[in-house]
Subunit: 332 residues, 2 copies
DNA sequence: CTGAAAGCGCTAACAG
DNA sequence: CTGTTAGCGCTTTCAG
């Protein structure tokens, strides 16, 4: 690989001049610049980003650390991030923490060690990890999940309200004993969606019974197991609000396996959409999150923070929307 | 951030000794090592990976460049790659080329500029991009799609055979005029799956008519449009083999929209599974690829190539398996 | 406007 | 076994 000195020699200028041309810095004499460009072409010169990073003390890469690459919600965010990043001249790399605080911590270490220009993260909740990031001065944006105890820019969906709307919809549809399968106790989204459910159930004077609530792992298997446990518990639910997309699928599977007709005998509403929800029978009523916008907004915040590190942290909350399909509408 | 010199001073040794301790290189006197460890803890020392990379001329990060982050096939591969990478001491970052040769090229440039330790790529087919990577000496493994004109380690599924089996299954199920929706003309997987289809159709003396073949974009919309075009063409197909998962979904949607009963009036088999295929009605018969193993194998090959750069390139082909569900089984 | 020179933080010869 | 020294390739003052 040709270095900047090779180019300099070839063009008969100094390395500093080549550097200026490469970075479009101060005005360089047109004739010199032309010679440099020619030399770069002749030698197929590619700047060594590692050397540049070392010198500049930062890269032009953003790390997006998501907690489950198998969940379309997270991959869908990435699209929004990417579009903004590209436009702003950054590359995006994705890291999958798989809800594992250890893996998350390792990726944060890597982002730090590699001096990434910024990090967008849906945190598993381990504060120490985030603190390390923030204290190092790395621009950070939390996405989907706020981070208690850390002051960082944050982009969220309106979890509590969305869950409330979903639950109220089940009430309006005539279901009586509405259960809730929410996520892991420590995840803010799980808490907020549970709160929305609880609020709605209370307001509408439906049974607000701990027997009707389950915490699962935001995965398909967890949703399946939680549904099974609800059905076996004697709490006799006739509907369920599942707090994420994968668990909704799991719950549906359980219902299918047990031969329980949806929406006839049992109503189902999920949080966050799934791809080809329309091919599933019955098609699933879900609280749709603006995934692309969530990603876009996070990226915009990150870009702003990089430009202006001192600005106060802000939290943006985006609206969800209930998409009514078949699984929650009782036939007359 | 503390540097290696801060640690050295604090421990009363030279930077070289600290470096040795950090990297577990040559044996360092136990007492010194202990002092160094203490100093590192005291100062919360974190090695600067960028500086190390510059010096060593390489990182401990692998880039996985996939062509569609919205396709569960690709995200599923990543799991297999990650598990092997972690075990071998590498971090994995994901780059989404979105089937765009320009984006792919930019990510390859980034991988090169950042001196990534290796690259696993499902190429859009632009040879120049790969050549650049190979010529730079970066270890590369092609996954899912071989790269014509480049000699690199490659991991593939048995596309032709899988497609043949899928098509033969439709024949055995009693369908007569079997159509094929394959992928973009230039993608090897699309060509191979088309060939498998053609072979099967010929062998079983079913109409082998260009009218029954469509090339689409491996996306849902493409599958929908291709299906619509087949239905409107006058070729009168009564079954379709769709060459990837997303297009199968699209084709199904089209069939649903037209009120064509599957599998009664029309048989459907797809290539590559989709999540919650069992919830879709009718459930989809698909050629299942060993996605996790594909990723694992690619990672293993990459690790071997890094360890032994001179070894001849090898191609590993993994078997697919036809998973028969409802969409291809005519009721008696 | 251009070049010389210093140095980002780390590793790897090479002496001792 | 340990320290000294010389860069990795680039950017950026600082002179000229």
């Amino acid at each position: 690989m040709a270095t900047i000195y090779d180019v300099a020699r070839h063009a008969g200028v100094s390395a500093a001049t080549v550097s200026r041309v490469v970075n479009g810095r101060t005005t360089v004499d047109a004739a010199l610049a032309a010679r440099v460009h020619q030399a770069m072409r002749d030698l197929d010169y590619r700047p060594n980003a590692v050397a540049r990073n070392l010198r500049r003390q930062q890269t032009s890469i953003w790390a997006v650390i998501i907690s489950d690459i198998g969940n379309p919600f997270f991959t869908s965010l990435v699209r929004g991030v990417e579009d903004v990043a590209q436009a702003a001249g950054y590359s995006v790399v994705l890291c999958n923490s798989d809800e594992d605080p250890g893996k998350e911590d390792r990726y944060v270490s890597a982002a730090l060690a590699e001096q990434m220009a910024g990090v967008i993260i849906s945190s598993t909740g381990k504060l120490a990890t985030i603190t390390r990031l923030v204290e190092s001065g790395t621009p950070v944006v939390a996405i989907d999940r706020q981070i208690r105890g850390a002051t960082v820019d944050t982009v969220l969906a309106d979890n509590e309200h969305g869950a409330d709307v979903a639950t109220s919809h089940l009430v309006a549809a005539g279901y009586q004993r509405i259960a809730c399968i929410t996520g892991p106790r420590k995840l803010p989204t799980a808490q907020q969606r549970l709160r929305g459910y609880t609020n709605a159930v209370r307001r509408h004077k439906r049974p607000a019974d701990d027997q009707l609530i389950r915490h699962a792992d935001y995965r398909e298997e967890g949703g399946y197991a939680a549904m099974a446990s609800l059905l076996d518990s004697g709490a006799e639910p006739d509907a369920v609000f599942a707090a994420n997309n994968l668990m909704t699928v799991g719950a549906m599977e359980c219902l299918v396996d047990r031969g329980i007709s949806v929406p006839g005998r049992f109503g189902v509403v999920g949080f966050d959409d799934i791809p080809w929800a329309h091919l599933v029978r019955p098609s699933l009523t879900t609280v749709v999150q603006p995934t692309y916008e969530l990603g876009r907004t996070a990226a915009l915040l990150l870009a702003e923070r990089i430009a202006e590190p001192g600005r106060p942290a802000s939290t943006v909350t985006l609206q969800t929307e209930l998409k009514i399909r078949e699984s929650s509408v009782r036939p007359a």
